[in-house]
């Protein structure tokens, strides 16, 4: 390198540098273009001897910068198996008509009546858009549609949140509207009508003979208890939320929400047994619930960061004009085993009181109430969930997790007398379920 020639060096070096760095920049751009974040999961939920559910989720999120975020989510699930109808078990076999009116099923003595015809697939699509509208204020718009063969649900929501005090406080207000349309198989049963069961009372011949007079008479009687057009329900929710940073390790969230539904709130597949003074079923009725419901709930959540762990504890109190009051405690502890692995035990406790119209059965010596349901989900119960999750972040930044949980519901007798033969029946059987989930994010 001769000093006399070296004057050109600066320029040559600058050219070489530009070539090097611009080539690198191109490689970077292609890398950052693909910034959709995908979260996927598949969940299996299986109750012993009852329903099982397989549910898949794909959620895609894109950050467009400046706090503008789009999230779209697709959920597909299939439900199969048998579900408790609400009818009580008896010391003898019981025969029920299928909800469609097409065929029958029989329950063995001392066995809880389960409707085994459940097979349903649901597809749900939702989208959410968040963007700032004013300094430290963001607005979120959402829409969703969900379809199953007897049910259609569409909804929209809007919420706004604002940050205050150095972003230590965030306040949220939101409204959502949901419209559901129900078209159950075999039509909607008339509330508290008696289920029509073909026990041969409609004349000779069994259901196998087409055009049989007895069969036609059954169908006519069955249709008498049914309304064939669709019905709907609408739900409006209002949500007020406050999030507060307490210190470097802790934050809390407090929500109040009010939800009001009106319209068709029955479960068209749920039944009630009408029993005599000896507890023996005389007939089976279709349930009937009020056509409106207003719920209030208060939800408090806190998160605390330890050096190697994050604790997440929440409590929810809910009460409504059906007089169901519930308490839920949910806690998770994410413990980081290393930079890339964690385990997360989960514990949840749930307790609810029964709805004012909940009856495990109806007594035929009493006057028929206006509203009644024997759906155990509206009765008094406690439920616990215990679970464990393991998560791992791979070298390429993708993350996977596996979660196993056990869920048990223990319905309770809310002070109803088990008359006659019912004293020897288990009217409040527990429901035990296992949950297994695998998730993958990339």
């Amino acid at each position: 390198m001769q000093l006399s020639k070296s004057k050109k060096i600066t320029a040559l070096l600058a050219t070489a540098t530009c070539t090097l760095l611009n080539a690198g920049a191109q490689a970077q751009e292609t890398k950052s273009e693909n910034d959709w974040q995908f979260d996927t999961a598949i969940l299996y939920y299986g109750e012993t001897d009852r329903v099982s559910l397989l549910e898949g989720v794909i959620s895609a999120t894109k950050d467009f910068g400046d706090q503008r975020v789009l999230n779209t989510k697709l959920v597909i699930d299939t439900l199969t198996g048998a579900s408790a109808t609400g009818a009580v078990s008896q010391p003898y076999a019981q025969t029920f008509s299928r909800p469609s009116g097409d065929g029958q099923y029989t329950t063995s003595p001392n066995e809880l009546p389960l409707d085994d015809t459940f097979k349903d697939t649901r597809v749900q699509l939702s989208a959410n858009w968040t963007q700032p509208i004013y300094k430290d204020t963001r607005v979120n718009l959402g829409g969703n549609i969900s379809r199953e063969y007897d049910y259609l649900s569409v909804g929209t929501s809007v919420s706004a949140e604002s940050d205050f005090y150095n972003k230590n406080t965030t306040a949220l207000f939101g409204l959502s509207y949901q419209f559901d349309s129900i078209d159950p198989v075999g039509g909607r049963p008339i509330g508290l009508s008696t289920m029509v069961v073909n026990n041969g009372q409609f004349g000779a011949g069994d259901a196998g003979d087409a055009g049989d007079a007895g069969e036609d008479a059954f169908e006519a009687a069955f249709d008498q208890t049914r309304i064939t057009d669709t019905d709907d329900k609408s739900t409006v929710d209002a949500l007020f939320g406050l999030t507060q940073v307490i210190n470097r390790r802790m934050l809390v969230q407090l929500n109040y929400s009010y939800s009001t539904s009106s319209g068709y709130l029955n479960d068209p597949y749920k039944l009630l047994s009408l029993v005599n003074t000896n507890g023996e079923t005389q007939s089976v009725l279709h349930e009937n619930r009020p056509d409106s419901r207003a719920k209030h709930s208060v939800f408090a959540q806190t998160k605390y960061a330890f050096d190697n762990a994050v604790a997440d504890v929440s409590y929810r109190f809910a009460t409504d004009d059906w007089e169901i009051t519930s308490h839920t405690i949910d806690s998770k502890l994410r413990y980081n085993l290393s930079e890339s692995d964690y385990i997360q035990p989960h514990f949840r406790y749930y307790q609810q009181s029964e709805a004012d119209f909940y009856r495990p059965y109806l007594d035929n010596t009493d006057a028929l109430p206006i509203f009644a349901s024997a759906d155990y989900r509206l009765g008094e119960m406690t439920a616990i969930t215990v679970g464990l999750k393991y998560g791992h972040k791979m070298n390429n930044g993708h993350e996977w997790g596996v979660r196993a949980e056990y869920y048990q519901q223990d319905p309770k007798n809310a002070g109803f007398e088990n008359i006659g033969v019912l004293a020897s029946q288990d009217l409040y059987p527990s429901v035990k379920a296992f949950i297994l989930q695998f998730s993958y994010s990339f």
Binding site: I9, L13, L21
Partner: protein, 305 residues
């Protein structure tokens, strides 16, 4: 692995991590910790990526594959090709004085402050494995004679600084960010309101009175930087002492011997960190004439003897 942290320092946030055997920091002209965290995390990831890919201390990267090839040709990706092209340009500009195959001389010269001066025979044997002009490469592959090794250590850290600065510009186009990897610095753009970045750089003390004392004293020099890049090349504490002669770790690849009587440290300011780093190295290779060279090049420099 990607261990980083952020800390507010008055009107800006400092992100820091440790990579390429150096403390690395980002000075980010924001007070939003989310922005700073995001940038620091991405910056650290990019720095670690480059370290993993081009470090010669690993046995799972492209440099290892090339160095173990024993005469076979090795497939390379575009980024490696661009770095080799840059190294090639530097070889041509310096007329063979900057040579990324000269690292094998380290087997003879161990710059640990001791007095182990290798004998000429050892050096002559090693010289047979040096010479970038004997390496063939194109966009797809590189082919070196058996026994050859490359070492991108002379440009790797500066390259990483520029890559991280580039990434920061993409992620936060409106922010001024100073990237500092152990004294090799790049600023993405000017700060708001005419402010400067202030960084401390370790430079040898100019202490000419004690010629017998070869232990270099370091002072932290505070420098103001508005934009551009800054890089330092020097012998830090890597030298040999033999019969009272100080042998610099900067070697002449053609002779296999240290450059004598050159400055201990040269700091250059330029548009880009890579450019500054190479200019500093080229200046050191000038030995006695380093300062004269720098004056001719009309660059901003600090030279310590």
């Amino acid at each position: 692995m990607s261990d980083w942290k952020i800390q507010t320092a008055g009107d800006h946030i400092k992100g820091s991590f440790f990579c390429m055997a150096s403390p690395c920091e980002l000075l980010i002209d924001t007070t939003d910790p989310l922005v700073a965290s995001h940038l620091t995390e991405q910056a650290a990831a990019e720095a670690f990526r480059i370290e993993q890919k081009f470090s010669r201390y690993r046995n799972d990267n492209i440099v290892f594959a090339i160095n173990q090839a024993q005469g076979k040709s090795i497939a390379i990706d575009n980024e490696t090709f661009q770095l080799l092209t840059f190294a090639n340009s530097c070889f041509e500009i310096s007329e063979g004085m900057f040579d990324i195959t000269s690292g094998v001389l380290r087997r003879a010269w161990k710059f640990d402050g001791s007095d182990n001066v290798p004998n000429p025979e050892t050096i002559n044997q090693l010289l047979a494995f040096i010479g970038w002009d004997r390496v063939k490469f194109d966009q797809q592959k590189i082919k070196m004679p058996a026994g050859f090794e490359i070492d991108l250590g002379g440009i790797g850290k500066e390259y990483a600084v520029d890559c991280v600065a580039k990434l920061c510009t993409t992620l936060a186009p409106a922010l001024s960010i100073l990237v500092n990897f152990g004294g090799d610095i790049q600023v993405t753009q000017k700060r708001k309101e005419g402010k400067y970045w202030l960084v401390g750089i370790e430079m040898p003390a100019q202490d000419t009175s004690q010629t017998k004392n070869h232990d270099t004293k370091y002072n932290t020099v505070m420098v103001k930087i508005a934009r551009g890049g800054l890089a330092t090349s020097g012998d830090a504490n890597r030298y040999l002492l033999h019969n009272g002669v100080r042998y610099s770790h900067v070697l002449n690849p053609q002779l296999g011997k240290p450059i004598m009587d050159g400055p201990r440290s040269v700091t250059i300011a330029s548009d880009h960190c890579v450019q500054a780093g190479l200019m500093a190295t080229l200046a050191l290779l000038q030995g006695k004439q380093a300062e004269q060279f720098l004056i001719q090049q009309e660059v901003s420099y600090w030279c310590y003897w």
